[in-house]
């Protein structure tokens, strides 16, 4: 008989269950029958993520289901605060030698997150054993997870900015056809629509995050509409500033006119914007699709659609949630396999994840009737072809320095404390500053 092992960190458990393939069978384990889900006999899988709110609830359900399916894996999920603090912790965990087996990361953050030093690459053969391969993903998004020929991030979804509309108000303003928003083309037409809604309600027609602590709304709006003009902020390699002044000004002036005319609520932070729409005070909300759970829970009469094409292309700012393997000196064995198992399982079950509003990156799910039945979460799925991710640079991506700095600058345009011209000059100045600063983290792509 073997004494029970005092330490769960011993990879002895690798010899159990589905993971016997590469497990290091210790001499003890021979002839030992697998105990049912005893913690000391299971592979330890620590998963760090930043999903709270509706996403957090969905994820918890999914992880419970995963746990029930995999008694041989001892899953410890840790929810951390979204944003800059999350990335600070994740970066430092790897250094302290106490990195989790698996973590969530925004795909656009990858170049600045030390792939190869802070992150370990995925074992694509192992994923293929679970039935997940490159051809199951949109090529552009899959490529964003590659650095130096290795795959460091596996995309789970893409989460674009979308347009929410309050069906009762829009009905009153005569904007609906069969419960759907009549197509809108061009900034002038959209402005006209907003004026009609304002006439109908006597209040601003649209709400969106215009300010706040570490506010990124300003950047998201600018990125959405500027990408619609066909302009780029950085060159494709993320090394040069290629902002087109005329196009950027056109967008910024339009944004400024929206709040100046009172068509958009002028001063409101992210939570406030959700609150205003939730109370049914405005016809529209420009925001991330992940607020859908809040409005469904509160029975708001609403639906969602892609952000209309106002400046020439129907693109929308987005980032993607992805999985990464934080660097461990002794990565391998059962815990690492468990991480790959969870990734594959999550992708195959991403219909449940899509309930939170995100568009699944795993293509087979997009044709799943269960996904198509999700209303309004599957309404805007075609945006997958038109998402605008930040150019690959170390200072880009969700909650990055650039988002926060430029979010502040463009917030000034919306609240009227800056002219579009001064905001553009300031944005150029700050991006130049980032470009002149070498990537502080080692081993990154650019």
């Amino acid at each position: 008989m073997n004494p029970p092992l005092p330490s769960r960190r011993r990879a002895l458990a690798g010899g159990l269950g589905a993971l016997a393939a590469a497990g290091t069978l210790g001499p003890f384990a021979a002839g030992c029958s697998a105990p049912a889900a005893s913690a000391s006999g299971a592979a330890r899988l620590r998963f760090w993520h930043l999903f709270s709110g509706g996403d957090g609830v969905n994820l918890a359900k999914m992880l419970d289901a995963f746990g029930a399916d995999h008694p041989d894996i001892d899953l410890e999920a840790v929810t951390l605060q979204w944003g800059a603090p999350y990335y600070t912790k994740l970066g430092m965990a790897g250094v302290g030698g106490r990195a989790p087996e698996l973590a969530a990361l925004h795909l656009a953050r990858l170049p600045g997150f030390g792939p190869g030093t802070l992150l370990d690459p995925f074992d694509l053969d192992l994923l293929a054993e679970h039935g997940v391969t490159e051809k199951d993903f949109p090529p552009d998004i899959w490529r964003r997870g590659r650095v130096g020929g290795k795959q460091y991030a596996i995309p789970l979804d893409t989460h674009p900015m979308v347009l929410y509309f309050q069906t009762e108000i829009c009905e009153k303003a005569g904007l609906l056809k069969d419960g759907k928003l009549a197509p809108i083309r061009g900034a002038e037409e959209f402005t006209e629509v907003l004026r009609r809604v304002k006439q109908a309600t006597g209040r601003p027609a649209l709400v969106t995050e215009t300010l706040g602590a570490e506010s990124v709304g300003g950047w998201r709006l600018f990125s959405t509409f500027y990408s619609q003009t066909g302009g780029k902020v950085l060159s494709a390699d993320g090394k040069r500033l290629v902002i087109d002044d005329a196009k950027a000004l056109r967008v910024l002036e339009w944004m400024a006119s929206m709040t100046a005319e009172g068509l958009w609520v002028r001063r409101v932070d992210a939570l406030g914007a959700v609150g205003v729409f939730n109370l049914g005070k405005t016809g529209f909300l420009l925001g991330g699709e992940w607020e859908v759970t809040t409005f469904k829970t509160n029975k708001v009469p609403f639906s969602m659609t892609r952000i209309p094409d106002l400046f020439g292309r129907p693109t929308a700012q987005a980032d993607c949630h992805s999985f990464v393997l934080p660097h461990q000196d002794d990565r391998g064995g059962a815990p690492n396999e468990a991480a790959h198992t969870l990734v594959a399982w999550m992708l195959k079950h991403s219909v449940d994840w899509a309930a939170g509003g995100h568009v699944p990156a795993y293509l087979p799910v997009l044709d799943d009737p269960a996904y198509l039945k999700l209303d309004p979460q599957s309404e805007y799925r075609s945006v997958l072809e038109d998402v605008e991710l930040d150019a690959p640079a170390w200072f880009n991506g969700s909650a990055s320095r650039m988002w926060i700095e430029l979010g502040d600058v463009f917030s000034g345009v919306l609240t009227g404390s800056r002219t579009p011209r001064s905001a553009l000059a300031e944005a150029r100045e700050r991006i130049r500053g980032f470009l002149d600063t070498p990537n502080p983290l080692p081993g990154a792509a650019s």
């Binding site: 600070t88 790897g94 030093t117 706040g212 602590a213 000034g412 404390s417 600063t437 502080p440």
Partner: protein, 322 residues
């Protein structure tokens, strides 16, 4: 401390060995003990902690500011004064430093004056003095997060906050962006800070007031000095030292502004309230540039050092000129 000059030389005591250090003039024993190893034993624990948690980080931080170290502690190359050169050219550094100084100016003046006025009031109002003391000092005992949430969520929200309601009562136009308009955000942070911390200065002044000898007032009253004259010629001059202390403590406390801004405005709108400590935090913990963040910290440290050295010097000059 001035050296003790005994007016009457005490008789040398026979039971003690005369003089400690070789060649030292025979001091009146018992007045000054030489440094003994006993004393060293007693202060060692403190010195160790002091060295470990203050001196060593100071030196270590200074070292880091000369490198390109990132948050993971790797990739540190010696870059000499590059970080400092960059900081001096960095407009965001200067604007955040200015925000810190501006906040200090805006907050110190009312905090000292209101603290003094409240103390004078409490000192004069002999009835239910405990009530004044408790109610004016109580806010100081709240944690900053509670105070900031209270003001951000109940007092300052546009349209329905207490501040706007108050203006509406007076027939003024409500709907001011207390925390969301660059013209008012810093003032709102100052208001919050004054309400929260004025109790500390009030307490220092109250203690000082209570230590002014009563006979001075009695003598002045006999000479027919009015209450106003008594305040002007006795109370305020007697409080001069306390004012010096309150001023130094207040300036140093205000320079360290971080939490109120972080919790109430996040440094916004458009970076108009971002203090230098938040900029250090952003560069270091959001931007991963620990080396650069250290350099900015040391520039700020130099400023604080300057303030804490200049103030006593000014005070001395004032006293000497009298």
């Amino acid at each position: 401390m001035t050296a003790v000059s005994p007016t009457a030389a005490p008789a040398p005591r026979a039971d003690l060995p005369a003089g400690g250090a070789a060649g030292a003039a025979a001091r009146p024993a018992g007045v000054r003990r030489k440094w003994t190893e006993h004393g060293l034993v007693f202060v060692t624990p403190f010195l160790l902690i002091y060295a470990l948690f203050l001196l060593w980080p100071l030196v270590y931080g200074a070292g880091m500011s000369l490198t390109s170290q990132n948050i993971t502690g790797t990739g540190a190359e010696f870059t000499g004064l590059d970080n400092y050169a960059e900081a001096v050219r960095d407009p965001a550094m200067w604007s955040s430093l200015w925000n810190t100084v501006w906040f200090t100016v805006l907050s110190t003046v009312p905090l000292v004056i209101i603290g003094l006025v409240l103390a004078l009031l409490a000192h004069q109002l002999r009835v239910v003095q405990w009530l004044w003391r408790i109610s004016w000092f109580a806010p100081f005992m709240l944690p900053s997060s509670v105070v900031c949430l209270l003001f951000a969520q109940m007092i300052f929200p546009s349209g329905f906050g207490f501040a706007d309601q108050l203006l509406a009562e007076f027939g003024l136009e409500p709907g001011i962006g207390w925390l969301t308009d660059a013209r008012y955000a810093m003032l709102s942070v100052v208001l919050t800070t004054v309400w929260w911390t004025v109790g500390f200065n009030f307490l220092l002044y109250l203690a000082a007031l209570q230590s002014i000898p009563q006979h001075l007032y009695e003598a002045a009253e006999l000479d027919g000095a009015s209450a106003w004259k008594r305040l002007w010629h006795i109370t305020l001059p007697m409080l001069r030292r306390t004012t010096g202390l309150v001023l130094v403590l207040q300036v140093l406390a205000s320079l360290k502004i971080f939490d109120q801004v972080y919790l109430m405005t996040g440094g916004g709108p458009d970076d108009s309230t971002r203090p230098v400590l938040q900029y250090v935090y952003q560069q270091g913990f959001t931007g991963y540039r620990i080396g650069y963040a250290s350099a900015v910290s040391y520039i700020f440290f130099a400023l604080i050092l300057l303030v804490s050295l200049v103030q006593p010097w000014l005070a001395r000059r004032k006293e000497d000129s009298k």
